[in-house]
Amino acid sequence: MFPVRLARPRQHWALAATSAVAAVALLAGCSASTGSTKSQSGSKDTINYALPANFTPNWILPIGTAAHLNTNNGSIARTLWEPLVAFNGSQGSIAWNKKGSLATAADFAPDGKSVTITLGKRTWSDGKPITSRDVEFWFNLIKANKAQWGNYNEGKAPDNWTTLVATDATHLTITFDRAYNNDWMLANELSLIHPLPQHVWDKTSDSGVVGNDDKTPAGAVKVWNYLNTAAKSLGDYSTNPLWKTISGPYLLSSFSTSGKVVLVANTKYDGGEKAKIKTVNLLPYTSTSAEENAVRSGAVDYGYITATNLDQAKSFTSQGYTVKPWTGWAITYMPYNFNNPTMGAVFKQLYARQAVQMSIDQTSLSKVIFNGTAVPGYGPIPQAQKSDFLSSAQKNNPYPYSTSKAAALLMSHGWTSQSGVMVCTSPGPSSSQCGVGVASGTKFAMSVLSQSGSTVTDNMMSAIQSSLSKAGISFSIKTAPVNSVLSQTPPCTASEAICKWQLSFFGTAGSWYFSAFPTGDSLFMTKGGANFGSYSNKDVDAVIKESTTSSGNTAIQSYSAKLAADLPVIWLPSPDYQISVVKSGLTGFSQDSLADFHPAEWSWAK
């Protein structure tokens, strides 16, 4: 190749380079003038709240299917339509927040078989009074469409409500099919009721006339379908007149399908939780990194950081943020698959589960892996908050960490360590043998399908693997997105192909968030909907039932103690719901451990 000598090259290259620079400069445009890296709120009338990463709001109707009624959609809906009974943690502890409720009293009959509810003298945003007819409207819709309703559990509301009678405009009585624990009924069932504007919504089409369609089951189905179809038009949320008649402290100003929701104060609101900040921007984020970048640039007033970034807390506090861990009313665990054809028989042995639990060092996991943002949990009642539901047995950790004791326990039951892994060498049903169904030569080797995408979870699994190995228990880890984990680890029978899973973990942000009264009917009752591992214990079934039907907390404390001892799952530390970063000056609220947010309680210090 011969060398090429360029005659007048510079002008051309310069021209090309100038074009490129010009293009970039064009894009840069008004960067200097927008100053958009500064906090976008900056005003006492506005707040920018970061929604959880990867969450796009997609529903505002307070009734709907399970796919729609998730926590954050619910929080938005509750700012627009106040619940009858707001039972939440917005006041610092989980209780009935009457200021944010449409009901002012719930008087239970002495026999516990009915409740009379008194409504406050409140009005809809169009000036019409909120009456017991609006509660009845909700009830009729739910009763006729219970299978579609996301909060429905067979045998629970509305199945266990035999009648709802409106005695006058502000009083109604609900009768139950039997006596129930008043606290449970109030916290877990009556709190589901959302009075809806019957005088606007009781129709079957846009052009239809408002009537009493809900009073027949067929009509109620049509009304439900009409409302749910209307709620599927996300683009119309801020313009559809249906959604303008509200009872909550905020009105929807805009709802972008890309996820940004703007709420403005409802000037007609006459309840106890009047909005203190005029405009609330709920901002969507594609990832935690994107959200953290936004926090660092000041674009978010109320956001979050990951546990792994907690050691950088100073960089946030120096920017005027306060770091506030937000604990959840939740427990975290790994279900055993008791029907697994290989390991099910081992998991059914209490001593084996005890050995596993003794090999989990929850204190160290909470401190080291979670950076202090998790709380050890030893049973079915959340332990991050004080509560009357917690038994002393659970609180005191019945199986303290000791891998040597775990190994000794296994060896005392016919297991022998071979190449570092315990092997059953003494099969049989006696107390010094491996137990019923555990064959000779069975290795104590378990595998978990764990939620992917979290460094903290990966680290926790590695730490558990390490500590289990000290007790001679082999533990292999596979990962998948959380939805895949849930899909691949359902309740199953041994003969089903999908029953090959042994342990499942989907609790990076906590495995299970409870309603205010933490009963375990779905989780640990025989054939419970979320009893993934098919755990079954008649005593536990009885005590779970008793906890919802007997008065007082004795039964639920007994449930707490029994499951702390019986280990239906591997109990793990429960991480904080969120590590919030809050702009200094944003005050007047507590972070609700039920994981709801309550914009009406936020205010800027003067």
Binding site: A66, A147, T257, K260, T286, P481, T489
Partner: protein
């Protein structure tokens, strides 16, 4: 073969390719164990709710029936409803595709505007210190992971020297994307960097190859200056492999868009695809695969056509 016949043949091939892609992806998705219901409805879903979801979504029907139903809807322009977004897939794609296209097209244009002259300049200055410097920078830009490069740009140009926002425009419409052009600088720069590296290397080697051709020697003998030869003769011939590469780069652009969209809070197609895969949102996954397949097929087709415009020998080769 005439151009129209050639185009028709390619079009039919494209339809066949897309059909095969949908069959394979549909089959693979539905062979995943457990189905999507539990993941979509969450841990607290009851057995009845799961049953109802499966029934509503037609997931209880035999697989081939599901596929033909899907195909039937597809032919009517109906891609279905997303399990997780509560929106029609068509609407989601209409909202998100333009955003990704804006990102990828601007990124590609800027990258090419820089990479082509840079590659030619490097070829002209072969083994000169500036060539070594440019080569080193290219290798660094090419080997740096996109997310890392993006984070560095955010830290430097958004947090340390607050010149540009750390987030891309977040509105639902295309107009809102252009409302704050400054917000596009960092995402585009992140995506363009590796593309500049790749295409400048291609252009450099292609130019070097052409510079050793007889026609360059002849032009030189005819008295043409180096610059004239590069501009009038070498430039066009050197573009052929770059144009071909551009067509095949379409899926890479979509892949790169995912990381950029995630990092800069820009909800486009890449992120839609990723989230759908994470959440077992089968209809969205299928919709995205369809769009990416079409984009790839169209991209390669356009590249082929451009190649034949640039280099008549390519056109002659088809006849």
């Amino acid at each position: 073969m005439t151009t129209s016949l050639y185009l028709l043949r390619r079009l039919l091939q494209a339809v066949a390719v897309i059909f095969i892609v949908t069959v394979v992806v549909f089959g693979l998705l539905h062979s995943l164990p457990g189905g999507p219901a539990r993941g979509i409805l969450g841990a607290q879903a009851t057995a009845q709710q799961i049953e109802q979801f499966n029934s509503e979504q037609g997931l209880t029907k035999p697989l081939y029936v599901q596929y033909f139903l899907y195909l039937g809807h597809l032919l009517h322009g109906d891609l279905g409803i997303s399990y997780t977004y509560n929106e029609s897939i068509t609407q989601l794609i209409v909202e998100r595709l333009p955003k990704t296209l804006v990102l990828t097209i601007l990124q590609a244009v800027i990258a090419l505007v820089i990479a082509i002259p840079l590659g030619m300049w490097q070829a002209a200055k072969r083994n000169h210190p500036v060539d070594y410097i440019a080569t080193t920078v290219s290798f660094v830009a090419y080997s740096a992971p996109v997310f890392f490069l993006g984070l560095v740009l955010i830290i430097v140009f958004s947090q340390t020297i607050p010149l540009f926002p750390s987030q891309a425009p977040n509105g639902a419409t295309l107009a809102s994307v252009f409302a704050n052009p400054a917000a596009l600088v960092l995402p585009i720069a992140t995506g363009a960097a590796s593309m500049i590296a790749v295409f400048s290397r291609y252009m450099r080697s292609s130019t070097l190859e052409n510079l050793s051709e007889d026609y360059v020697r002849t032009a030189r003998a005819g008295g043409g200056s180096g610059g004239q030869i590069l501009r009038r003769h070498v430039f066009r011939n050197s573009l052929t492999p770059v144009v071909a590469m551009l067509g095949y780069y379409v899926p890479v652009l979509f892949g790169g868009a995912l990381v950029i969209e995630q990092l800069f809070n820009y909800p486009g197609m890449g992120l839609l695809f990723w989230n759908a895969a994470q959440s077992s949102d089968f209809p969205v996954l299928l919709g995205c695969v369809l769009v990416i397949s079409v984009a790839t097929v169209v991209g390669t087709l356009i590249a082929d056509i451009l190649q034949s415009v640039i280099d008549p020998r390519v056109k002659a080769g088809r006849t």
